[in-house]
Amino acid sequence: MTTPEKKKSTAEEPWPVRVVSQMISAWIARLGWVWVEGQVAQISRRPGTSTVFLTLRDPSAEISLTVTTNRDVLDLGAPELKEGARVVAHAKPDFFAGRGTFSLRADEIRQVGLGELLARLEQLKKLLAAEGLFDRARKRPLPFLPGTVGLVTGRASAAERDVLDNARRRWPAVRFRILNTAVQGPAAVPQIIEALKVLDADPAVEVIILARGGGGVEDLLPFSDEALCRAIFACRTPVISAIGHETDVPLIDFVADVRASTPTDAAKRVVPDLAEERRLIATARGRLERAMRHHLAREQQRLDAARSRPVLANPTAMLDQRAADVDALRHRAHRTLGYRLERADDDLRHTVARLRALSPAATLQRGYAIVQAADGAVVRAPADVSTGDALRVRLAEGELAAKVVAT
């Protein structure tokens, strides 16, 4: 092998392919031996050779590496290796100069057992709980009637049908935006995260359901993935998890705003039951009307009571009373006047009697006479007159004219 030239490459003096290839090979080799963990996306055993190619994928991202090893290594550490399994490999980067490709060459491959995976999930659960991803206070309430329901699920899956059928039965006008993704295997997590982002960014989508039917513990592992848990936590739209059966509790069940036990349950939680709502409205309307009628009837009663009061119902009573008052007064007036007239009569009689009693007529009758001077003055003594004065003498039966002869 020739050593790479120190001189810089230029358009006039470019480096040959072999030189560049060698430089790359040297750079890659610097990493040395590493332990790497991933999910087996593909295994290809070349017939007739002992070389085995594995596509090793990151379970949380669309990132993969090619691993080459030989059959003996596999048989020793992972004899039952299938696609989807988790493995830990001891490998070194290897540049294949013939084609300019790169792979990891593994000299040891161990399959990660289910027990270990579950133990790691427990650890992850504690970590996420400690970070607050499961906090009740962080849960967002579901809208009563979502404009559009986002649904992430497998294409033509039973879970998709369960969600759609049950939601439409409850609320026929429900709108869905459905994104189909892989729901198991290495592609599941990145695809689901992408779908969540798309739905979360859609302003019409007011709630997102993540649904998958039942499956083996390993099939459901993507729904306990840390990256997916964080993606759900980051969603601004409320998320309902509906994974597997009642007994399956993947980690996203703790992160989601609502955990539905099954896809059917998710449909029940996401939209109200139209028939039930109609019944409630009908009941409320009935009560409303009864209350209104009751109120009106009560007011009518009050009004009737007011109108039936004698002062309003029989307004002539008001006049009758006054007419009676007037009559009574008139009578009193009459009576009062009558008394006064009688009294006046009496007075008159008495006065006349007294007048009569005082009259001199009776005395004259007895033979007395009244002598008056010419001026009418009564003559009581001889000195009252002089000789020759004319006198009037009043008798009972008449008058005499006389003259004083002597005093």
Partner: protein, 69 residues
Amino acid sequence: MAAKDELSYEQARAELASVVERLEAGGATLEESLALWERGEHLAKVCQRWLDGARERLDAARQAADGRE
């Protein structure tokens, strides 16, 4: 229905009650009493109009609702 400047049901009812009370208490002049009585009749009519109107609206709303269902 009710004129714009007309009393609300509650105002009319309250005034009606006070008119009846004053009439029953007596003491007003005949002219005043007559005026009170006329006012009372007017108020009673206003109240009745409100109640009838409310009932009509209630019936109309129910018919509309029944028609839709």
